[in-house]
Amino acid sequence: MNKKLLYSGLGAAVVLAAAGGALWLLGRNSEPPVKGGPPTARLISSEQYAHAISYVFGPDVKLPGSFPPVQRTNGLVALGTAQAEVTTSAAELYVQSARSIAAQATDPTRRDFLMNCAPAQPPQDACARNVLTRYGRLLFRRPLTDAELNEALGKVQETTRVSGDFYQGLASGLTSFLISPEFLFFIERTEPDPKSPHHVRLNPSSMATRLSLLLWDAPPDEDLLDAAEKGELYTKHGLERQVDRMLASTKLEQGVRSFLIDMLVFEKFDSMTKDPVIYPAFTDKVAVDSREQTLRTLVDHLVVRDLDYRDIFTTRRTFMTGDLGMVYRVPVDRPDIWTPYEFPADSGRAGVLTQVSFLALYSHPGRSSPTQRGRAMREVFLCQVVPTPPPDVDFSKFEAAATTATTARERLTAHRKNPACAGCHKIMDPIGLALEKFDGSGTGRQRENGLPIDTSGDLDNVAFTDAVGLGKAMHDDPAATKCLVSRVFDYARGYKASSGDNAWLTDLNAKFAKSGYRLPALLRDIATSRAFYAVSATAVSAPGVDRAPAAPPLRTASIQ
């Protein structure tokens, strides 16, 4: 045998053996490098707050209300939470909510669920310590420090002394947790990375929280905290076991719903209005149902059925209520409940773009808006930014055109002839006009002001003749899947990816394609990746001391 070949073969065998011995490590190491961002401190959202309370105290605990919305940043509200502060008025809401929840949790009907000790028998301190230790850990998503526990115990003792009621004292202790920045903010902490002396990594509880927010939009449960505190998330097997457990949980649907609400800009429903004279069938109930219809459709498609993401632009399968049926003008077998429904092939409807939620949300109160629809398609589903109109546009020209034009296409022609407008309208209008056979409420129509509607156009040179064709063009557009991948990755980490993440995102896109564009597979790839947990902070000077970003200030005196 040729010596050179022999050495080569031996060398290959050595490499293979090494690879076999540490496949996951190699796999993770084979990921394109990412720089990672700084640890974040994200304000808890209303949905995350509700999920946390439901898990910790039970689903029957009523929340007094929702909290002020957070500014959308770089396409996602989730990114805005990392820059949010708590105003005085918001802090008062948190205090009211905390008191209400603590009172409910300790009322006679729920005490047995909360307590695992007998407070009537002295010493009560031991019972209070027991309860506070357990619930403090769940609310702070990490074990309490001795100082935190003792401070809460002090509140319990003082309130019990003044009121003469141990449960009021306990409620006081729980309230102190619920108004703490440690609960209201997801504050990520780092620790020295033992495998890389000059770098840091997320500490176990921060890693668990980042993972749980991605998959469940909720704080970690006890199983995940247990695993994190044992260091299991730092091992391939331990991390995958937790990720797979969480992906198999029904809470995944809750997590995906939250992501979709954010991605689809559904907070716009809060301010949407429709003219009741023009669209009498578009009631408040229809607005609520249309939002729910799209979420049900997508969760069913992406999670329950685990189907190709691209098919959300072409699927005719959805869910229907009686109220929605009046807008779609279709019969519903069970008008009193949500019912599976499939549009017929010749209905002109296919995909999320032809659902009432999208069509109505991106329309004027009294008429459709191809421009709004086109812009939303670009920004929401293709992650392309369409600039706002320049400040010196003379809208009177177009308003005059609107009075004489018969169809939306004619009106928008004026825009596209104006050089100041043409650049943007050329990318919005052709795709928006494809949906013109649906009015501003989403009801189908064949004519506008007596004239037949022309829905032909193109999406970046891919021609189509109608809304169904537009859906197919969106389905086949690589920008759509890339957009989803980048949105999920940004949502997962809480900050926008930078150019340093490009190689990793390219790799993630390839894996997404290989999976058949399955969202759960994408979530698993992210959740088990090194990039997801990467932080860019430099090593701490004193090993063993956690570092964390400063929590945004609670600008209130009343919360103290």
Partner: protein, 397 residues
Amino acid sequence: MRAAGCQGERVITSARTGACAYCRGGFGVSVLAALFLATPLAAGAADKQTVGFVMTGWRLAVNETEDGKAECPAGFQYSNLDNWKVQYPTEAERDKMHQEFGFRQNRGKDGENVWLYPDTVTDPLPFREVQSKIGIGVNLDGTQDGAATPTSCVHEKFVSPEGQTGIDNQLYRVLGCQKPFRRGGMFDTRFSNEKKVEPFARFLIEISDIDNLENDASVIVTTFKGSDKLVADAAGNVIPFSSQRVDERGPQYIHRTRGRIVNGVLYTEPMDILFAAAPNGFPSETYLQDMRLQLKLGDTSAQGLMAGYHDLRQWWKAFVKQTMSLEHVTQISAPGVYQAIIRLADGHKDPATGQCKSISAAYEVSFVRAFIVHPDMKSELQVVAQSGQKPLAAASK
């Protein structure tokens, strides 16, 4: 399941067969045809249309002038209180009556309740029936002069406001001078609201076997009881195109007949129907014999008349149920009405006695388009077949 009244877009999977039924086009292709394959009606019915409607309001067809002088020259009807005062003219007599019999309704000869025993007393005040020649309705007996026939009694005809002669509406003659039944009156309002707020009284019609919605020599018209809510818009108008399920508990309310469409107006052939009603929130049933519809069909609604004969016994039972507890506010005197419907009855003559057992009536009705959802067509057909109704197949085109 199947649904009718499809417009544009729909696939429904049959719960029973798993088969799919399709609707397409402006008013939808009839799915009825696919399910009628075993019947002679199905022949050549592949491209037929089916449309559905749900009733949103009905009121007794009362032709009324602003001050009522033309139809009620002597004034409006006397109430139970008015008659009671005449019947017991002095305070002493009234006190005695109260002590012996209690309520004013108990003014029968021996203290009977005159709603339950209306023939125990004759109202001392005259009964004011409609005097006008103008009335709204349909020619039900086929005569122009109201002369007696083997099945009808002699009666006076009305002329419609549009000049059509031979109109029958004897119930208008009885109730047209009763304030509660005139526009804005208590029963008029409650009848109108009933269809909006009482799912129990949901009345559905389905027109099938349609070739042309403007003119069609023969269509099939079926009535059903529904049970689903109606949704109103901000102005209080019922929103069209809701899905209305046929109430499976009400097979007795399924009735079918032939009809024709002339210049967009549906005319149905007579059939006896029973339908649920709850005009004052009291669930009841209304039996209308030889019922026929005249409806102007629109894209989203239909308006017109529903006319027929009320069986006296059944109508009186429903009337008592709806009015007895409201005597103090309705200004109705039961004995007068009871005796008037017997006196003015014009239909279903008993050959043995010569007495007519029903009274002609007409209602102004309004509908909006709806999707009629059928839980189980087979049982529905069986019900129709077993009900002894006219064999429609023999009358097919």
